[in-house]
Symmetry: C2
Subunit: 223 residues, 2 copies
DNA sequence: TTCATAAATGAATGGCATTCATTTTTATCT
DNA sequence: AGATAAAAATGAATGCCATTCATTTATGAA
């Protein structure tokens, strides 16, 4: 630090790199506290008051580190995105990589569906983990021989499907029980019953749709 | 309840059919008021206080007709479901019917994404309009020659895709702007730019994914 | 008219995110 | 070591929200 006395360029206070020494709170701590709160109490339990209490701090103290509760959700989202396995595109053939990536993506976010409405509309700017995932997936598509201008539409469609499927995965098993109105919907009721005792086929449906998307998109490769 | 008095079958108070004569409020009125409130102020503006005011009534009066705000959302959902065009399955060949139905479904719910988290998990019991839609779609699949036990998984997968796409449709155009981090994600950034001035291809993506699902599922027909 | 029931009222209640003036803590400079 | 300025934490508001409840009003049937 060759920092002489006169030095008008350096006006901001400095801090030793990587050491949040002077404060109880920082964004990383808030993120992990939010995640453990969600895993214990669900998204209804994720309130600024509860978050502050779990950190041993007054609620207003949080606002020195995040601008709003939405900021907290963005932090959680970034953390989750970093857990989606997009490394598979470096090791597996395209079809299998897409499949593994999609399952990983869906499994992670099916436990965090309240985030989906936030993510789906959230600009990717300043979201490094999210961008890193997109970069890895894009590279995988390029390597597999996709024309550059088809890659983003394919990813967008796959993501839409994954988000929708994440909701499905949390639905109750009897969601298709037609109850008293069964008589007026005979074909639908029969189709539901033909599935057997397990009436909600969210996993079968996910696999079938994913197969269709992979087959359809795979045909776009030029190489 | 042995009910000694004569006429034991008729215990509930009667009311002339179709005439909500004695009260200002009923569920139909609440539903249309909620819909017009949403269209004017969005889902943030849909509060019980605002809803009551738009009906010229005290907020607590609403609770004589609905159990909770979630009930209001269910009423709105049912109304929207009745607007999804599933009649196409009676007139068009299967591929075109699925396409038309899916576009109609997505277009309606892209203006009501806050409902999706409710719908996706909501049992279909006591939701006559929703059941009617499922019945029409199921009939369309049966007519097209699908094995009975494949129909529900296909519908579930299509719905997941439609719900996800409804979120996409509301995303800002610059959602994929990588900003300062563009240098660290060269392939993704290039792929986004190859799309041209319109950087968010939600319509192209929807069409491509829908084509893939229709092609993949269409192959399941046996007839 | 009488009476029971349904509907509407207005005043609570408790939870929520967020703000702000104030105090405390911390890091750096003299 | 002491002074100083910035960052961080505090506690007490604020305003909005869904929901409840005791009470009053309106309605239809007997």
């Amino acid at each position: 630090m060759p920092e002489p006395s006169p030095s008008p360029a350096e006006t901001k206070p400095r801090r030793r790199a990587g050491r949040p020494v002077g404060s109880i709170l920082d964004q990383a701590g808030i993120t992990t506290a939010a995640l453990s709160l969600v895993s214990k109490k669900g998204y209804d339990g994720l309130t600024m008051v509860a978050l502050a209490k779990s950190l041993g701090v007054a609620p207003s103290a949080l606002y020195n580190h995040v601008g709003s509760k939405d900021d907290v959700l963005k932090l959680v989202e970034e953390d989750l995105m970093s857990k989606v396995d997009s490394s598979v595109f470096q090791t597996l053939p395209w079809e299998e990589a897409v499949r593994a990536w999609a399952y990983s993506y869906r499994d992670i976010f099916s436990a965090h569906t309240p985030l989906i409405s936030v993510i789906a509309v959230l600009p990717v700017t300043d979201a490094p983990q999210t961008l890193a995932m997109y970069e890895a997936v894009t590279e995988g598509f390029l390597r597999a021989g996709f024309p550059e201008d088809r890659i983003i539409p394919c990813i967008v469609a796959l993501e839409a499907y994954i988000f929708g499927a994440a909701f499905d995965a949390t639905a109750p098993a009897d969601i298709f029980d037609s109850g008293k109105l069964a008589e007026s919907t005979p074909h639908f009721t029969a189709a539901v019953q033909s599935l057997g005792p397990v009436n909600y086929p969210s996993d079968l449906a996910f696999r079938m749709g994913l197969d269709a998307l992979i087959a359809g998109f795979g045909a776009l490769r030029t190489a």
